[in-house]
């Protein structure tokens, strides 16, 4: 046992556990909330939890790949939120509220 070098490093399991809990909060929220803004925010929470998992795992092995993946997740989140907010504006314009269930009543 080498308690000196091991004790100060954040245990990877705890970081991954935090990421899993954050992801679950986002997943539950995306299924419960019916407001489009909150659904987009839950997507951001879930993407951020994925990035946290990548960073913690990459830091555990001391490789830069985790941060590379985090940057790709960042670009995905940016593109997703731009299109999602544009859709939100359109939905607010057409439906006059932000209830996602109203969108299921559309006929094409």
């Amino acid at each position: 046992m080498e308690p000196v070098s091991v004790a100060v490093v954040v245990p990877m399991e705890h970081g991954l556990l935090l990421a899993a809990v954050l992801f679950s909060i986002g997943l539950i929220s995306i299924m419960v909330r019916r407001n489009i803004i909150f659904i987009l925010m839950s997507l951001e929470i879930m993407l951020n939890a994925c990035g946290l998992a990548f960073i913690v795992a990459g830091a555990h092995w001391g490789v830069p790949d985790g941060q590379v993946m985090f940057m790709l997740i960042l670009s995905i989140a940016a593109a997703e939120v731009a299109v999602g907010l544009g859709l939100l504006l359109q939905a607010h314009n057409r439906l006059r509220n932000l209830d996602i269930d109203d969108a299921s009543k559309m006929r094409g």
Binding site: A7, V8, V9, V10, H14, G15, L18, V21, L22, I25, G26, I28, S29, R33, N35, I37, F38, L40, M41, S42, E44, I45, N48, G51, L52, I55, V56, G58, A59, H60, G62, V63, P64, D65, G66, Q67, V68, F70, M71, L72, L74, S75, I76, A77, A78, A79, E80, V81, A82, V83, L85, G86, L87, L88, L89, Q90, H92, N93, L98
Partner: protein, 176 residues
């Protein structure tokens, strides 16, 4: 348990609490404040596990750019109903005291971590140079794909937003 490891758990707790608070709010602006605090706590965790570049990106892009997009849209949608009375309702002390406390804890934490010598927790720090070399070496194809994704997002957002703005202008012209 060393004090640095305790700081990690404090940041993790703040992240969890603010995320739960953000998904249980009824008001979108309150939820956004808590979400920004959660992202700041994540940035401190990134810094403490030895990824300073990712921590900077988390604050600049996530808490900066993406959350500002959200705030813009929330403010834009509230234009019809909001007035100074609504603003007074939003800015009750009970609303901003808890976020301010959480942010102050995070501020004290990052001050301590910075003052105590950087990366007290990290086994090893992965510096931005290594990330850049890896990003433009084996992952250069992923960078190209990400650029195409961002271009698609740009075109899609422009297309969707342009329709909204032109209809809005027509609506305002017809009204005024």
């Amino acid at each position: 348990m060393s004090i640095e490891l305790g700081l990690f758990y404090v940041a993790a707790g703040i992240s969890l609490v603010s995320t739960v608070m953000s998904v249980t709010r009824y008001n979108a602006s309150h939820a956004l404040i808590y979400l920004i605090i959660s992202l700041l706590a994540s940035a401190i965790i990134f810094y403490m596990v030895g990824a300073p570049f990712a921590a900077v990106l988390e604050i600049v892009i996530y808490a900066g750019a993406i959350m500002v997009l959200f705030v813009f849209v929330v403010m834009m949608l509230n234009l019809g109903t909001a007035g100074t009375a609504q603003e007074h309702i939003w800015l009750k002390p009970g609303m901003w005291v808890i976020p301010s406390l959480l942010t102050l804890v995070l501020l004290a934490e990052i001050t301590y971590v910075l003052a105590a010598g950087s990366h007290a927790l990290a086994g090893e720090v992965v510096d931005p140079k290594a990330v850049g070399i890896r990003l433009f070496g084996p992952y250069v194809l992923a960078v190209e794909i990400a650029s195409m994704l961002l271009l698609a997002g740009l075109v899609g957002a422009y297309h969707l937003g342009r329709g909204y703005l032109s209809e809005r202008r027509r609506f305002d012209r017809g009204r005024g």
